[in-house]
C-alpha cells in the first residue's frame, strides 16, 4: 500500500514490460521455427527454461529475493536462442544461458545493474570460446539442401559478390542465419507492437540502423560508395539487434541513448567492413553498452532555473 504521494501510479510494471518484449519476439520465433524446423522452437524454450532456472537457483543459493516473476530472465533466454543458429548444440545454449544470468546479470547486482545486455554477452562467450557452434549457419529447410557452404548474405556483402538470394527471400527470412534474425517482416511486426505499447521508441533504432547502412555503403568492398545497402540491412542481425538488443534498458537519457546508438552503429559497420567477422551487431551493441555510463557522465543536462556555467 503506498501512502506517499503520488497516490496514482501507472499500470505498467517491470513484469508487464518484459512480457511485452516476449510477445513482440513471438512472430520472429514463429518465423524461425518455420524456416529452420521445430528444433528452433525447442532450442528457444530450452534457453528460456535454463535462464529462468539459473536465476531462481542463484537467488535461492545466495539467499536473495527471488525475482524470476519479473520475467526478465525469460526475455534473456529467448534473445539468446534467437541470436544463435538453429543447429547450435543444446549444451552450448545452456552454457550461454547460465553465463548470461549468473555472471553477467546476477553477479553485477541483478536486474538493472548489469553493465551490458546479458543475452549478447552469452552469445559473445560462445563466439569466443566455441566459435564452431555459432558460426555455422544452416540453410532454411524450405530451400534445396544442396549448398554445402552456408555462407551468409553478409559474407557476400563483405566480399562484394552476389548474395544469391532475392530481395523477397531476404525480407521474409528464407536465408541462412541465426534462427531469430532472418524473418525481417516478423521482427518489424514485433517491434511495431513494442513501439505501440510505448515500451521502446524508434529513435535509437533508426539512428543505429541508418548509421550502419550509411557507413557500409560509403566504405564498400570495391571503393567508396560501392556498399550494398539491402544486403547489409536484410542479410544479418541488424534488425534483430537494432530493434530488440540496442533498445534494451541500459542507457537512460534520450540524447545519451542516441549517442550510444551512433557509437554502436560505427563499431558494427567497422567490424562488417574491416573485421575478421562478417557480422558486427553483437560487438557493436556491447561496446556501446559499456560506454553508456561514461556517456551519461559527460552529458550536460539542463535543470530548470539553473543558468548554464560557461
Amino acid at each position: 500500500m503506498n501512502l506517499t504521494a503520488p497516490y496514482l501510479r501507472t499500470n505498467r510494471t517491470t513484469r508487464s514490460v518484459m512480457l511485452d518484449v516476449c510477445i513482440a519476439l513471438l512472430p520472429a520465433l514463429a518465423g524461425g521455427t518455420y524456416f529452420f524446423g521445430l528444433r528452433a522452437l525447442w532450442l528457444t524454450l530450452f534457453s528460456a527454461a535454463v535462464c529462468v532456472l539459473a536465476e531462481f537457483l542463484f537467488q535461492k543459493l545466495t539467499r536473495r529475493a527471488v525475482t524470476v516473476g519479473d520475467c526478465s530472465a525469460l526475455v534473456t533466454g529467448m534473445l539468446i536462442a534467437l541470436n544463435l543458429p538453429a543447429t547450435t548444440p543444446f549444451w552450448a545454449v545452456g552454457v550461454a544461458g547460465v553465463f548470461s544470468i549468473v555472471v553477467v546479470k546476477q553477479m553485477f547486482g541483478g536486474i538493472g545493474s548489469n553493465f551490458a545486455n546479458p543475452a549478447l554477452m552469452g552469445r559473445l562467450l560462445l563466439m569466443v570460446v566455441w566459435p564452431a557452434t555459432v558460426m555455422q549457419n544452416p540453410l532454411p529447410r524450405t530451400l534445396p539442401q544442396d549448398a554445402v557452404s552456408s555462407a551468409t548474405v553478409l559474407n557476400a556483402a563483405k566480399a562484394g559478390t552476389e548474395g544469391g538470394y532475392t530481395f523477397w527471400q531476404m525480407l521474409i527470412g528464407e536465408i541462412p542465419g541465426a534462427l531469430g534474425e532472418t524473418s525481417k517482416i516478423l521482427l518489424l511486426i514485433g517491434f511495431a507492437y513494442l513501439c505501440f505499447r510505448k515500451v521502446v521508441n524508434v529513435e535509437a533504432t533508426a539512428v543505429y540502423i541508418a548509421s550502419v547502412l550509411a557507413l557500409t555503403f560509403v566504405f564498400g568492398p570495391e571503393g567508396l560508395f560501392t556498399g550494398h545497402i539491402l544486403m547489409n540491412l536484410l542479410g544479418g542481425g541488424l534488425i534483430l539487434g537494432g530493434c530488440f538488443m540496442l533498445t534494451d534498458y541500459v542507457f537512460v537519457s534520450r540524447r545519451g541513448k542516441l549517442f550510444c546508438a551512433l557509437i554502436a552503429g560505427v563499431i558494427t559497420a567497422g567490424i562488417r567492413i574491416f573485421g575478421i567477422y562478417p557480422e558486427g551487431v553483437c560487438l557493436g551493441i556491447l561496446t556501446a553498452n559499456c560506454l553508456a555510463g561514461l556517456i551519461s557522465m559527460l552529458e550536460h543536462r539542463h535543470v530548470y532555473g539553473k543558468t548554464e556555467k560557461a
Partner: protein, 447 residues
C-alpha cells in the same frame, strides 16, 4: 507554429483518462452549512497566527480572529457567525478555535457578480492593504499571503491566473469559472491593478472548454488586457514554475521567485476571493472544495474555512467501500489522511488551501529494483534524474544529491507515477531536496 513551441514545458504525464474529472462535472456548487467549525490558527505549514478571541465570545462572519505571527501567515477570519465554544490545541501543536454556528447567518451580497465593476476608486496600495486585512492567501496550494506576493521587489509585466487545475479529480476551479465568470474576471482585474503588470493571462487546460466559453463571453466586455491562454492538458501544467515556462517561455531562476522572471502567478480561486473581498467586503472565509472519488455523491461544496472533512465526506454520501485511502488535496501531491476510513473519526478541517478530498481505492504496489528504463528522467519537468537521486538519498550521499540538483525538485510526483518498478522516487527525491536545501542554508549562514 510560434504558439506550438512556446506553450510547452518538458516532461509531465497524463495520469488519468478524464473520467476522474467527469465524476463531478455538470454538478453545481452546493453550499455547505456546518453547525460548528474548527478554524486552525496555522492555515499553512509555518504560517502561525495567535487568536484574537476568547472562549464565550460572540463572533460575526468575517471578523478577524487570528493575528499573523510569521511572514508566511495571513489574517484568519471567522468562517461563520456564532459563539466561540473553545480554543484548544489540536494535532501537531496548532491551535483550533471552535465556533458554534448561530441559527441565523448574515446574508451575502453579490456585487462581485453584478457586471464589470468600476475599479477607478482603488489605488494599488489600497488593494494590497485590503488583501492583507482580508487574509487573502494563495488558494492553489501553498497559501502564500497575497499582500506579500503583490508587493514584489522587482517589476512584473505579466500576471498569470492559474486555472490549469492539472491535478486529477479536482474540479473546484473549473466549476467556479463556469458558475461565476464575472466575479472571477472582476478579481483578475483587481489583481492586474495590484500587480502593475501590463497583461493578465487566464491559463486553462484544454479539458475545460465549458469554463473557457463561460469566461470568453464575459471577457468581451472588458477594456483591460485580459485574455485566455488554452494549454494542452498535461500534468503538472499548473505547477507555478511549469506554467510560467509554458506560457512565457521564461524560467524562474533557481532559488528565486516568479517575480524574478517578471511574473506573478495567482490561482483562479484566489481571484474570485479578491473580488469578494474588494467588492462585497467579504474576507476569505470560505472556499470551494471538491469531494470526489469513491464517495456516493461526488461534488463541489462551498465550505466555510474550518468545516469538518468528516462531515463533508458524509455530505457527499460517505465512502463507497470500506477499503479506501482518503487523500487531502489532489492525488498527485496531496496527503493521505486516512486508510480504510469508515466515516466515524475526525479527519481534520478545511483550510484556505484545501482544494479537495479524494477517496481512492487501495493500491498495492511493492518496490522492485530499478530497471534503468529512463522513464523518470523523461517525465521530470525540472530536468532531474530521479533514479540517481533516489539511489544517492538511500545511501545518504548528501554531496551527490546536491550535485544532482535535488534542491530543484518540485515534488510533482511524475517520477513515482511513471516508474514500472514501483519505486518511491518522488518521496526520496523530496527527502533529498529538503536535506540539500538545509545544507545550502547552513552554508549561507556560515558565510
Amino acid at each position: 507554429m510560434q504558439k506550438l513551441f512556446s506553450s510547452r514545458f518538458p516532461g509531465g504525464v497524463h495520469p488519468t483518462n478524464g473520467s476522474d474529472k467527469a465524476l463531478t462535472s455538470g454538478k453545481a456548487i452546493r453550499a455547505f452549512h456546518p453547525q460548528k467549525v474548527w478554524i486552525s490558527m496555522e492555515q499553512t505549514p509555518g504560517g502561525k497566527c495567535s487568536p484574537l478571541i476568547r472562549q464565550g465570545d460572540a463572533v460575526k462572519r468575517g471578523q478577524p480572529i487570528g493575528k499573523p505571527e510569521t511572514f508566511t501567515a495571513s489574517v484568519v477570519h471567522a468562517g461563520i457567525s456564532g459563539k466561540v465554544e473553545s480554543i484548544r490545541e489540536g494535532q501537531a501543536g496548532s491551535i483550533y478555535c471552535a465556533i458554534l454556528a448561530d441559527a441565523e447567518q448574515p446574508a451575502r451580497m453579490n456585487q462581485a457578480s453584478m457586471g464589470v465593476a468600476d475599479l477607478s476608486a482603488y489605488t494599488k496600495d489600497q488593494i494590497v492593504n485590503a488583501f492583507r486585512e482580508g487574509g487573502l492567501a494563495g488558494m492553489g496550494g501553498a497559501g502564500f499571503p497575497a499582500a506579500v506576493k503583490y508587493s514584489p521587489k522587482k517589476p512584473v509585466d505579466t500576471l498569470l491566473i492559474n486555472a490549469a487545475e492539472c491535478e486529477p479529480y479536482l474540479s473546484c476551479d473549473n466549476q467556479l469559472m463556469i458558475e461565476q465568470p464575472m466575479a472571477v474576471l472582476n478579481g483578475v482585474r483587481i489583481m492586474l491593478k495590484a500587480s502593475g503588470a501590463e497583461r493578465a493571462l487566464i491559463c486553462l487546460e484544454d479539458n475545460k472548454p465549458e469554463a473557457a466559453a463561460s469566461l470568453q463571453k464575459v471577457l468581451e466586455q472588458l477594456k483591460e488586457s485580459v485574455s485566455l491562454e488554452i494549454l494542452p492538458t498535461r500534468y503538472p501544467q499548473g505547477g507555478e514554475r511549469q506554467l510560467i515556462q509554458a506560457v512565457t517561455g521564461r524560467e524562474v531562476p533557481a532559488g528565486g521567485l516568479p517575480a524574478d522572471a517578471g511574473v506573478i502567478v495567482s490561482n483562479v480561486g484566489t481571484a474570485k476571493a479578491a473580488a469578494d473581498l474588494l467588492l462585497d467586503d467579504e474576507p476569505l472565509t470560505s472556499r470551494v472544495v471538491t469531494i470526489t472519488g469513491e464517495v456516493n455523491d461526488p461534488g463541489n461544496y462551498l465550505a466555510p474555512v474550518g468545516s469538518s472533512i468528516q462531515e463533508l465526506i458524509a455530505a457527499a454520501g460517505g465512502v463507497k467501500s470500506p477499503q479506501n485511502r482518503v487523500i487531502l488535496g489532489g492525488p498527485m501531491t496531496g496527503n493521505c489522511i486516512a486508510v480504510d476510513y469508515d466515516g466515524k473519526t475526525e479527519l481534520g478541517f478545511v483550510t484556505k488551501t484545501t482544494s479537495g478530498v479524494v477517496v481512492l481505492p487501495p493500491a498495492k504496489r511493492a518496490e522492485s529494483p530499478c530497471i534503468r528504463c529512463g522513464g523518470c528522467v523523461k517525465v521530470c519537468p525540472a530536468g532531474l534524474q530521479p533514479w540517481k537521486i533516489d539511489f544517492a538519498q538511500r545511501r545518504e550521499d548528501d554531496a551527490l544529491c546536491e550535485k544532482l540538483d535535488a534542491a530543484e525538485c518540485i515534488a510533482c510526483g511524475c517520477c513515482s507515477y511513471t516508474c514500472p518498478a514501483g519505486r518511491e522516487l518522488s518521496l526520496h527525491t523530496r527527502m533529498a531536496r529538503d536535506r540539500v536545501k538545509q545544507i545550502l542554508r547552513e552554508r549561507k549562514v556560515q558565510k
